[in-house]
Structures are given as structure tokens and as C-alpha cells.
Symmetry: D2
Subunit: 420 residues, 4 copies
Amino acid sequence: MHTPVPDYLAEVADACASSTGGELASYIPELTRVDPRYFGLAMATVDGSIYSVGDGDVEFTMQSISKAFVYGLAIRERGLAAVLEKVDVEPSGDPYDELSFEASTGRPRNPMINAGAITAHTLVGRDGIDAGERFDLIHRLLCDLAGRELGVDEEVWQSEVHTSDRNLAIAHMLRSKGLITDPAEEVISAYSRQCAVLVTARDLAVMAATLANGGVQPVTGKRVFSGEQVRQLLSVMLTCGMYDSAGDWVSTVGIPAKSGVGGGIIGSLPGQLGISTFSPRLDQHGNSVRGIETFERLSADMGLHLMEVAPPARSVVHAVRVVGEGEDAVRVFELSGLIGFTAAERVLQWLSEDPPPERTVVVDLTEVHDIESVARRMLLEGMRRMRLDGYVVHIVDSGDVLPDPDPGDGILLGPPPMAI
Amino acid sequence: MHTPVPDYLAEVADACASSTGGELASYIPELTRVDPRYFGLAMATVDGSIYSVGDGDVEFTMQSISKAFVYGLAIRERGLAAVLEKVDVEPSGDPYDELSFEASTGRPRNPMINAGAITAHTLVGRDGIDAGERFDLIHRLLCDLAGRELGVDEEVWQSEVHTSDRNLAIAHMLRSKGLITDPAEEVISAYSRQCAVLVTARDLAVMAATLANGGVQPVTGKRVFSGEQVRQLLSVMLTCGMYDSAGDWVSTVGIPAKSGVGGGIIGSLPGQLGISTFSPRLDQHGNSVRGIETFERLSADMGLHLMEVAPPARSVVHAVRVVGEGEDAVRVFELSGLIGFTAAERVLQWLSEDPPPERTVVVDLTEVHDIESVARRMLLEGMRRMRLDGYVVHIVDSGDVLPDPDPGDGILLGPPPMAI
Amino acid sequence: MHTPVPDYLAEVADACASSTGGELASYIPELTRVDPRYFGLAMATVDGSIYSVGDGDVEFTMQSISKAFVYGLAIRERGLAAVLEKVDVEPSGDPYDELSFEASTGRPRNPMINAGAITAHTLVGRDGIDAGERFDLIHRLLCDLAGRELGVDEEVWQSEVHTSDRNLAIAHMLRSKGLITDPAEEVISAYSRQCAVLVTARDLAVMAATLANGGVQPVTGKRVFSGEQVRQLLSVMLTCGMYDSAGDWVSTVGIPAKSGVGGGIIGSLPGQLGISTFSPRLDQHGNSVRGIETFERLSADMGLHLMEVAPPARSVVHAVRVVGEGEDAVRVFELSGLIGFTAAERVLQWLSEDPPPERTVVVDLTEVHDIESVARRMLLEGMRRMRLDGYVVHIVDSGDVLPDPDPGDGILLGPPPMAI
Amino acid sequence: MHTPVPDYLAEVADACASSTGGELASYIPELTRVDPRYFGLAMATVDGSIYSVGDGDVEFTMQSISKAFVYGLAIRERGLAAVLEKVDVEPSGDPYDELSFEASTGRPRNPMINAGAITAHTLVGRDGIDAGERFDLIHRLLCDLAGRELGVDEEVWQSEVHTSDRNLAIAHMLRSKGLITDPAEEVISAYSRQCAVLVTARDLAVMAATLANGGVQPVTGKRVFSGEQVRQLLSVMLTCGMYDSAGDWVSTVGIPAKSGVGGGIIGSLPGQLGISTFSPRLDQHGNSVRGIETFERLSADMGLHLMEVAPPARSVVHAVRVVGEGEDAVRVFELSGLIGFTAAERVLQWLSEDPPPERTVVVDLTEVHDIESVARRMLLEGMRRMRLDGYVVHIVDSGDVLPDPDPGDGILLGPPPMAI
């Protein structure tokens, strides 16, 4: 059997292909030479399955899509607090190239407008690094995310450098505010090179899936970002990534996303999918017209909206068996999947409302692949209480998902993990 | 065993109880008479389990929390399109009582500021309804959400009516823009009464859980909102519900929420939980100081952030068995849980990469409790292709989650469900 | 001889009459019934000469033109400081009916937008006065300015009252900020009545000439405002009276002005003229199209721009004679006109650079009609110094423009006159 | 006799000298080395009299004061229309170094903020001129205005060039908008040099007096600007020259003015005076603290407010004589001063209301030093009508102020002088 998933993507793409509105980006001649009919759609799961239809293997420049990943890199290198000191996370309602700074602090409004993206760019690498080294670090990150060596469109780069007055204005403003210290020309040259990195829709889908997968590249298995870094990155994509109007994107699409004037859009659905589109005709905000339409359709048709009711893990306790008889009877609880607060709560609720008549209880974690910190403590505390109630409790944990199961620390949640 | 969940909540509450910052709302004398030490925290799951600690049973007025639910009611009665014509969904960056209208269309920026909330209020009930009847409809809704009859604090109501100049200003502005047509005084009187409805933190947790549960009250089982209505409502809560700064709330807490100057805050995590806090000391934005701290801690400690990697449903195919031998061997796939796009993709991927050697395949849906529309079509199409490949495919669906399993319509996703 | 001045006005009016752009005010039906072809132009000098061409005697409602005079009345009754506490004087860049308040203080931006005008309206009369009495005081002022009893268009008044949602919104906002305390409906009713006072272009020219004449009605001779009140009033008309764009009006017309949606515009050139136009077709800002064109032409053609080089009073010493001969020779200086700082400086400069050879000096003030405070001190000090140099100095002051000519206080300028 | 005028200025200066608030400009080290106690006050009349007290002869850098004159130079070279296309004239309410552009057209808001001043700077000289030549043209203008060769503070210049990120940001923005085309570094270097031109308070007073004198340097007699250029320049100084708040300056001081962070302020009262102050301690807006206080005091104490009632030229007809007797009697009207519209109106009014009984009328213009265009036509038309009424009218015009006195063109005002 051939999986029908590509056919579904093709169907969505077909439905949006008739849309021929929008214009090619025209601020540099190189971007006007792209074939406006290109249309690619790709999807990658957190398991590493990749689907691509149409022109999913055509290369184009990342442009502003790079902002999202470089923001993550800045956080990875400097820590969230240091980055927040220099770049805020509020939707600006302004165009991407506006010189938009927060009134009270002077920070750029968010890392998705140029002012914030240029600032984030300069936070990559240790102080004193030169612009070329900084670009290499960024290039390394993007290659790690894509899982292959990515090229640079040198002509687009040179052309952007020659029409970069607006970005130079921004860089000089940032210098005047003390937010960056490197020479403006060097910063903008390296930043423009970052924007000129070449990717395909397939690449972008995998890169987005890395975010959906909590920072682990789903094909290579390499951890690129921590979970906390991804959480921050996706939050900012959700409120600042698309449109000038955050509320509209959240309510109609509900997928953290980022677009680039090269025609690409990425979307990332935590725990599920990375999605990308490539169609170079842009609306007046600089977003791909067919890309947006595709995302709206994916969200509406496929239930890929953050606020769709996610599957309640009702099958967490997917089997309860009684082994043996009489005094020797043992109650076996087979748990499965990932156990977080909500799942743990359900198990505990079940045990507390319907205590088993058997004296021996086995909690079988064989089918569980991960237990979150809070859930670990809750389960251990539950077992401790079972023991206090007189039960004999055994844990079957061949996958070692519950190491060091000392129930004694169950009650204490401890300090929250602050640092990202 | 007593479930330790209340202990965890108590632990979080204790950690935030030391915070004594903020001031009681003071614009009417009634609100200054509340005991500033009150602190309640409640949680309700989509299964209907309810936990409450501290002053979770003390009554207080809903105030602006009512805005969220009444916005949903307006959509339920008029349809989303009609409501969007009159109220936008963008975070305003303005205080809640600002006369903040969209420059181009004149609409209130969102339904969580007073201008939008008053407009949404007037969209409840058919045209020509009087203010009292409208209040009754709203009161009915709130009681349905809480699952009990709610009272009204008549003194707070009267007092608010007597200090309602700002709301009257808003109502007259809305009249001058043609957004509302009823007399300003009557509208503000009924709107103020809506704000004076009395709830407990426990009530609010259940009301929030109704949103988390896709619109079905988890205790009474009554469907109050459709899934699409809830999606819109939660999206707007996420970007406009708290603070003046949408980006900060989304990135630090990541839970759709709404606060009221009575001291309450609700949060709703789709598919999982409703949460509520009650502590009447407010910050300068009018949000409960301890409430916000509690939400931040819940999000950080318990992994209750939308962008945390949600549990990938790896156990969807939770068992594969072979029954019989040789030519008669039958491959049985047992699916479980809720099957959406991502889960269906995984099943199909599995079948396509690793086709079973047996000629007969049984898909056992006994443990599946729901299949989304797109997933239904994907599975049917997959089975159709299996048959084309020469397999005999049987479906076991005792729960009737896949009615009318005609694989013929598999390929067609059909038009998106537009109307909410 | 018939003076050709009316012919010049007619010529200007003719040149602008061809302009038929703009629309009648349409927010109430009464204003749409006006003949759109009406076109009147009137001018009044500070000497009380009045010229009127076209429909200069047709009555229409003052509307916003009343704001300027009522602002002056508020200052007259409460003092400038008390009024400034409640209404600022900055051009707002906003439409006249915007709810535009200063961010830091909450004051309306200026008294020419509705929010400021309504606040100024309520400052007329002692606290506790009722709305009818307040209107009577305002009506009295307007009649004093026009020099005749003015009527009220009762239908326009009633109609405005019935469509006053926007003004009611403003009044409630002002109440919520504590800037006004009277009931909103009563305030707006009286304010609307103020706007419905009936005037002709001829009336308005005289009213404007009263401002040009330092506050003294040039026909009746009644002092309506003090010089300081007029200075404030004209300053605010200059920066806030017309258009949304203060800089454009100042540079192209350079005449303090105020318009009303009834079709009138007044302009006032200090020391010279009051000008008014009446033509009911309005541009999108609510200013009379032909009125603006007429003012631009008057300013350009007739040199009526504040920044045109005003006549230097070179003739201040308009005659110097020597009477008598030899030892008895007396030098006579005949001064004329109004002597301010600049004129006094010229006289003193003249005496210091070219000291007369005669020992006796007569300063003849017969032709001087007024001497400003600073000039008085300068002249007295000059005479004192002449005496110290050995001159005999006599003053001829039959008009008593230099009473109590004690040169001893010459040097001291004293404290500035603070209170207005 | 020594004129007491310097004593009056000294008195005002003394009254303000106690004010020691404010801080030295600190953005470059050179400006912090200035003696903060410096305080100079100078005044120059349109007749060329110059008064200076305190540190009126200490040199300091012009800084932003140069903006006003260079704006005039741009208009002189390109015409007003061309300059308005690139720089608007609206008060911005923003700090002087804000990147403040008009929303609809992208133009800088006015030529007194840096963005507008830099644009105006680049409009000096023909296209293609290099930055050094441009500076020379500007330097030439400033020397012509001061009436002496002015130096440049080379250290201040170099220092400003090295801290010019904000101005470079502005220049790059202007380039990105197509408002300027020269390289950003060269433009800012020459612009910074313009700001570093050295002047004394005495220089500035004369420069300001040149504006007061309609563009003619009162000492050298050189025409630097036309009357129309001066009108535009003073209008913009009035609304945009000082503070962030145009309305406040106009109402409290009422003198067109411009300040610089070097500590200087100039003010210019049309037809009367140029005023300047020098005191290097600045308020938070970058205006000299003592300078502002001095201007407020000069305006209040000396009646130097534009809206003070200016001297009505009541003495225009300063003598009426009858020469001869009986049939041969001749009525002689002696006019004097400058005759504009208002003065001409008064003469005509006089003749029309009180026609002389003599048949022969002599209009004696010997004491008139100028007649404006509109007044010329009015007087000629009046004489033509007198002749039609049967009078014999003679004109005595030894000064040739009424050349080619053909009354035939009296009625026609002709097209307004559009070009500046």
C-alpha cells in the first residue's frame, strides 16, 4: 500500500493552486526572476516521516524564516533572560521592517521584526566574534535543523547588501541605543547572508518538525534546542510570526508560524508536525498568498488548530488485569504513552475512587515512553500512599522511565526550572 | 488512597500565598469590603474531577470573566461571521476600559475590552429583546456552565450602575458608530448585572473545564458550545484575555485565560483542564496578583504550557497480533484513543512501510473512542488501498465510531466546515 | 466716493465662488436643508468699519465657532490657570469629535475639539449653576460680541440633542475623569444649544474684530475680554482652530481662525481685522471649502499673514522741530501712535546716538494714543538720564497717556503680570 | 545719554540668572567642557541696533539653530513646493532626534527635527554637488546672516561625527525612502559640520533680526531671503521650533524661535526684533533652561507676543491741511509709514465717510516709505473714484513709492504671488 497522506496534501495544494493573487518580492531584482508558479507543500512528523508535494524540492532563500531559528540560537547561547533584556516578545502591529521599539525600554518589540532579528543575530557567538564566524555558527545551526548542508544564494546576498539602507538604519539605531556594538555594515552583511541561505520546502518541514519534536531533529535524532528554548520560540512564532495581526492568525489558523519574502512559510504543531509551503507570490504584508491559504485550509480541514480539543489520553491505563486468585491475586495496571500532569491525575483519580480489593498492585510501565517531572512525583506519591493504605506495590519499569523511584520525594514539587 | 492532587494544588497555593502585593479594586465601595486575604485555587478535569483548595468555595463577582463566556454565547446565537463584523479579535495593548477602536473599521479591538464585551453582550438574544430578557439568557448560560443556579450580588450591581460613566461613554460611542442600537443606560445596566453574577473558584474551574472539554460541561454532560465556538473563544482568550501584553502571557504562561476585577482568573487547557484562582488583590492592570503568580507556577512546574510538547499518541496502534496460522493467519491491529490527522498518518505510515504478510487484516476499533473527520477519510482510504493491494480487510467497530465505512469517499476531504 | 473695499472683497469672493466642492453637513437633517450655494464674506476693522458681500446677512448656526468664544468666557470666569488644569492647548492631529485626551494628565488636548469645548462650557458660571443659567451666560457673551440679540435655531438644537451619542460619550468620559460633574445629558443639551445660536457672517466679522481689537467690541465699545484673555484665545485658535494640521494652516494662512460645520469660519488679525466667511459645503474635516479658499486668498493677496513683516513704526518720531533760537532754543520731539517696546527702543536709540545740542527738550505725546507698560518705563528712564546729562525735559501729555510720570521707577520692570 | 535698553536686558537676564537647573549636553565630551555658568542675551532691531549683555560675545556651536536657516536656504534654492514635497511642516510632538515620518507620505514631519533638517541640508546646492561644496554654501549663508566670517569648532565636529549613529540611522532611512540619494556618511559629516559652526549670542540676534526684517540683514543691508521665504521660515519656527508642544510655546511665548543643544535660542518678531540667548544648561527636551525662562519673561514683560494687539497705524493720515481759500482751496492729505491693506482701508473709509468740500485734493506720500501691492491698488482705485466724483486729485510722491500711478488697474487684484 502507498500511504494516501501525500494525496491529501496534493488535494489541499490543488485547492489552493487556483489562487494566483499576490506579487513577487521586488525590492531586489534577483527575487523577481523566480518562477511565480512555484508551489510546494511539505510535512514532516515528529517520527521523521516526510511528505512533499509539488515543488517541494526547489531551493529558495529562507529570508525572514531564519529569524525564528536564530532567535532560538541566541537563547541557546545567551540564555532567555539575556535575550529578553534586548528584545521583547510583543506583537507590534507594525510591518516587519518598521523601526519599532518599545516606548519604555527601547527594546525592539519582538524578534520577528527586523530590528529584533538583527539584535538576536548579534547575540549569536561570544562577544568579540567577527561577522563571518557568527554567520558560520548560524549556518551550522540551520544545517543541523535541515539535516543537510545548505548553500547560500550569493547573488541574492550581494543584492540585499546593496539595498540595505533600511536595515542599516535599524542597525545604527540599535547601536545608538547600545543594543548592538558591532559595526553596522558588518552586522547587516552577515544578517543578509543569513537570509540568503537556500532551503527547500522539504527542508523547512523538517526544520519545523524539529521544533514540534521538542528540539530534537526527527531524522538525525540530534538535539538542536532544549524543550524550554522551543517553548519560547514557538510562543513567539504564535503571536509575532505572521501578519501584522496576531489575533487573527491565532484564531483562524492557530499554528505557530513564520514566513519569509522568499515565498516560504513554516508552521509547527507541538508534538505532531512540521509543515511548510513555498509559493513566491506575496500579499502586501510580505506573506505568501497561497501559503496562507494552505495553512488556513490545513487548520480548518485537518483539525490542526492548537485550540482544537487535543486527544485526552483516556487510554493511559490501557489495561487492568488481575493475575492469580484469592489471597495471591495481583492487580496489574498497564500504563502507556507519555505521562504528564493530566495523565497522572487520571491514574490517581482512578485509584482513589475505585481502590482495588487485591492487596498487591503492579504498575506496569513497559508501554510508557516518558514521564514528566511533575507526573513522576505524583505517581510516586500515589504509590507511597497506597503502601500506607496497606498495599504491596511493585513497579515494572524495563524501559527505565521511572529511575530512582523513591516515593519519599513525591510531595515536593521543588523549585521550578527557571533557566532556559 | 486519597489522591495527592489537592496536595499539589495546596503546595502551589502555599508557594504563592506569601505574595501580598496589589490592591483591592476600589472604583466601587462594595469591592473594597472584600477580605483581601482570600485565596482559592480550583481545578476541574475534562472527566469531571474537581479539586479545590483554600477559599475555593467563597463567592465573588465574575466581573470581566463573564466577557469570555458571553462572547461565546454571542457567537452561538449569531454565528462567528456576524460577531466578527462588530468586534475584532486583536490584542489592543490598551487597558480594558479604554475606548479602543480599530482605525479602519471602527470595531472594538477585541471582546475582552469593555467596548467589545458590551457589543458582544448586545448580540445575545434576538433583535428587539429587552435588557432583562437578555440578562436572563446570559444568566442561563452561566448557570449551565457552572452546573448550578448562580446568584447576583445586587449591591455590587447597583453600585456599578452608579459609577458607570466610562461604560456609558463606551455605549454612547458604540451607538454613534451604529454597533449597538439599544438605549445606552439599559445596556450598561444589564451588562453590569452580568458582571455581578456570583461564582466560586470551584464554579469557575468547571466553567473553564467546559471549554477544555470542547464545549461539553464535564459534570452535567450538557453541550454548551460547539467545538468551533470553543476554538474561537479560547483563541481570543489566549491573545486578549490577560495583561496588556499578549506576547508575554503566551510565552510565560501559555494558557488561554481571563481575569476579572473581582479577583478571579480562569484558564483553560484544551483537552485537559479548567483552572481557576481567586485572590482579590489586583495589580495595576486589574489582574489578581496571586492569581497570575499561581498561573505562572502551574505552567512552569506542571508543564501546563500549550507549547510544551504534547503527548504524541505513540500507542495508537497499541497492539498488533497474529491470529491463526499459515493461509488462515489474520493480522489484527488494535487502535485506541482519539484518532486525528496525526494519529491516522502514523497508522498509514506503518502499514505502507511494513505491509503485513498475511492476506487478511482486521482493524479493531474497540478501544477507539472518537475519530476525527479527516482521520476517518484517511483510514477508509487506507483500507481501500489495502483491498486494491489484494488484502481482505475487516473492521471491528462495536462502539460505532466509524459509521457508514464506505471507503469510496476516502480521497475527498470535501469543503471545510465554514460556519461556526 | 464709495470706498472700493467691498469691491475688493467681492473680487476675492468671486474668485472663490467657482469652487463647488464639498458636501453639506449631514449628521442631522436640518443642516442638509441649507442652500449649498450660500456664500458670504464679511470684514470688520478694529475701528468698527464693517464690510459684507454676498450672503453676509443670512443666518446660520455657529456650531464649533462658539467654542473659541466660550473658551475665552471660561478663562474670564475662572482664570487661565484653572482652565489649563482641565483643558490643554496642544494641536491634536485628531478629528474634532475624537475622544482625544492627553496621555499623562487625562485632559482634553485643546478647547477646539469637542472634549475640550464641552469641558470649557461647563466652566462657565459658578459651581452649582444649572444648565439653563449657563446657557444664558454664554448667550449673553455671544450677544455682547455680536452687538445684537442673537436667536437660536430650535430645530437644529433639538435635532443635535437627538443625535448626540458621540458628545454624550465624551461627556461621560469627562465625568469618569472628574473633569466635569454635571449630568451628561444636561451638559450636552446646553452645549448643543450653544452650537445652535444663529449668526450672520457680518456678526461673526464683528465678533472676530472684537478679538483683533484686544477684547473691546469695536462698534459698541464694550470690553468683553481682557488683552491677556484675547492673547490666549487667539494663540489657541492659531494652533488648534483649523484643520487637523496646525503647521499647514499657520504657514499657508497665518491667521488665527475657527470654523463650524454650519459653514462659517472666523479669522482674527490682532490689531487689524476680523474676517468671516459663510459657505455651507464642507471638506472631510468639516471645514467650509470656499471659506478655506477665501482665507488662503486673503492671506496671500492682501498680505494678511501674521509673519508678513508688519509695518515698522518708523514714523514714531514723526516730527522733530526746533522752536526758538540760541540759548532759548527748544528741541521738540513729536511722538505718535502706540508706543511699545520696539518703538520706545527706537526713540531712545535716536536720543542716545544723536544727542540734541539744545539744552531744553520737549517730548510731545499729543499724537500718541497709548503707551505700553514697558515702554512707559523706558521713556521715563530715558528722560531721567537726559536730565542727569543736564537737559531740561518737559512732557506735553494732553491726552494723559503717561500719567504719574515719575522717572524714578524707570529702571524697574517689576514682576510680570501673571494672572489673566 | 546712554540708552537704557541694555539695562532692561540686563534686568531680565538677572531675573533669570538665578535659575541653575538643567544639565550640559553630554552626548559628546566636548559639550560637557563648556562653562555651565555662561549666560548671554542679545537683541538686534530691524534698524540694525544691537544690544548684548552678559556672555553675549562667547562663541558656541549653533547646533540645531542652523536647521532654521538651512531650511530657508533649501527653499531659496529649490522653491517652496520642491521642499514641501520632501519635508512637511507639522509639529511632531516627538523629540528632535526621533525617526518621525508622516504616515501617508513618508516625509519627515518638519524641518526642525533631525530627519527633516538632514533632508533640507541635502537640498542645498544643485544635484551632484559634493558634501564639502554643500557645506561651503551653507557656511556662506550663515556668514551672510551674521555679517562676519564664522568659524567651525573642529573638535565638536569630529566628536559628533564619531557619535552619529542616530543620524546615520536617519540618513539611511531617508535613503531607503528615496528622500536623499547621497551616501549617508558624507551627508551626516557635512550636516554635523553645519551644526558645529561657531556663533555668539550677538551673531544670533543679528541673524534673527534678518528674519524679522523680512530677509534683509539689518547691518549690512544684504537681502538674504525673500519675504515669502521668511514667512515660511518663521511660520515653521513658530509651530515646530521649540519644545515638543507647539501649543504651549505659541500661547505662553508667542515668538517664532529655535533652540540648539549648544545652549543657544533665537527668537524673531516680524518687523521688530531678533533676540537670542546663550546658556548651556539644558532641560530634558534639549532646550536651554535659562533661555526659555528669558523668552517667557521677555514675552510677558515686554509685550513681545505675536498676539498682543499690535499698534494700529492710526496716524497713517497724520495731517490733513487746507491750503488756500474759497474756490482755490486745496485739501492736503499727508500719509506716512508703511501702507498695507489695513492702512489703505482706513484712508478710503475716511474719504468715503467724510468727503472734503474742496474740489482739489492732494495726497502727499512724502512721509510714506512703502506701499504694499494690495494697498497701491486700493489707493489708486480710491483716487479714480474721487475723480469720477468730480475731484481734481494730485499725488505728491517724491520718494517714488507709488510709481506708474495708473488708477485704471485699481480694481484688479490679479493672481496671487504663488512662487516663493
